[in-house]
């Protein structure tokens, strides 16, 4: 089953997918564009992997790290399906990162990789945007580059773990304005999902609702104001996002005021 959190008629609903449409708890069947999409889980502790695909590490001229490169994200940075992400006017390179996001479904520490599957509730898609202009070499990648407001679209759905036969063999694709710009497979992750759960839980307790964003393959290109960016993962779905600039925000303000 696929689960979402949506806003409809002023209330937050848990919804499931039925025949490509959005079904609310009370049975109402709606179109995808009838609702506002929230991140499918209210983020608590969110881990993100850097350089977890060899081809992407090469693309950024890094050798693959000895210790996994993990950073955390705050609640401000998440936004839902079909939302906008802001591109500051002084930025010259802002790129998407299509990532398989693992939703943790229990509380556990010191999980062995053989048992890691039991801890996974489901999967969703994250688009982990970065403003490369703001990257600094202190706790890199730093929060100013990676943890900006609404800079990490998440969704649309959480797909139950039991519905994904092999999460380590899924195709990831990103389209900018309909044109494919990134393609890879989760089979190329350096540390797979079981290894990541073993690693993270070796030093801290994982909890229900925690997320692991597992990194992105190569194919990062600059995205401009107005671009529609679709990050897609086989069997999970398509996450749609649009880049907004200062002009867009000003125009929206004007429309709202009239």
């Amino acid at each position: 089953m696929r689960h979402a959190r949506v806003v409809y008629n002023g209330s937050i609903h848990h919804a499931v997918e039925e025949g490509g449409r959005v079904k609310l708890n009370d049975g109402r069947l709606l179109d995808e564009t009838d609702v506002a999409w929230l991140p499918p889980v209210a983020p608590r502790t969110v881990f993100t992997l850097g350089l977890n695909y060899e081809d992407h590490a090469k693309e950024l001229s890094f050798s693959t790290p000895k210790e996994p490169l993990v950073f955390l994200k705050g609640p401000n940075t998440f936004t839902g399906h079909r939302c906008r992400t802001f591109r500051p006017s002084d930025v010259t390179f802002m790129h998407y990162e299509c990532e398989l996001a693992v939703v943790i479904g229990g509380t556990a520490k010191n999980v062995k990789k053989e048992d890691a599957c039991d801890l996974v509730a489901g999967y969703t898609i994250a688009n982990d945007y970065v403003m490369r202009d703001y990257i600094e070499n202190y706790y890199r990648p730093n929060l100013r580059a990676k943890n900006r407001d609404a800079c990490t679209p998440l969704g649309p759905w959480i797909v139950d773990a039991e519905d994904i036969r092999d999460p380590m063999n899924l195709t990831l694709r990103t389209y900018v304005n309909g044109k494919i710009t990134q393609e890879g497979t989760t089979a190329d992750m350096i540390l797979g999902i079981p290894e990541l759960i073993e690693y993270l839980s070796s030093f801290m307790t994982l909890n229900s609702g925690d997320l692991i964003l597992t990194g992105t393959p190569k194919g990062s290109v600059d995205t401009k104001v107005g671009d529609e960016v679709v990050t897609e993962i086989e069997g999970i779905g398509k996450l749609v996002n649009t880049i907004a600039g200062e002009e867009t925000l000003v125009r929206e303000k004007r429309v709202n005021m009239t």
Partner: protein, 270 residues
Amino acid sequence: MSKVKLKIKGLPQYYQGLVDFGNKTIDINGHQYNTGELALDVPISGAVYGTLLNYQGSYAAFESSMRQEPYMEPPKAPVLYIKPQNTLRSSGAVIPLPEGFFNLMVGAALGIVIGKQATKVDEDEALGYVYGYTVVNDVCIPHESIYRPAVKEIARDGFCPAGPWVVERDSVKNPDELDIRLYINGELKQENNTRNLVRSVSKLISDVTSFMTLYAGDTLLVGVPEKAPLAKENDRVQIKIDGVGMLHNTIKREQDLLGGVLDEACTSRL
């Protein structure tokens, strides 16, 4: 008298109290208690952000490395990190010492608790977004390099004791003029004052919210002073910030703790 918000263990709601720091008493709903006799819970619940290199002394100590590999230039934005929910503990709780380690670095930090959603806040209005202040022990496993995010060193279970309460903003005269002292087993190990911050409380809020929103209930740590002491198994660590409160915790081996959660009071049987 200082107005505080606190959480009592076993009770779901927050309480307000009036603390008399001189007499070490607290008045809650007209009843007076000694501050030591209440079992208090973690008084904060939102996201917790730490700040690195925000004391002039800690900045100066690192300055010679800033133009070298891999840093190349001094930081422009505040250097931030996240202390996730698993790190939070109350005053009086045990800090777990992970297996294979002998020392933890203990960090005496003033926590700014945000009172309303703060986005792109001007420096001169920043204090208006503050609910109050708390004492935080920003614990980590000592690490030299600050090039990569040190999640494994910073985000372990129990590495962010906070409390004992949150003092309301207007009960603190000037957050940029607070004495901070850290004691281990009763001995004074570190002393500093928030007047030595690189970015003052207002400036830090303004610079952080220029690129990310802080929500009501989030806590922003102003940083840890230079020469943060090391503490070992069985050490009792106290952090005292004048006009805010005193936070105390004892370090115990993680393998002796049930899920890393125990009170100092329960550890006598260990």
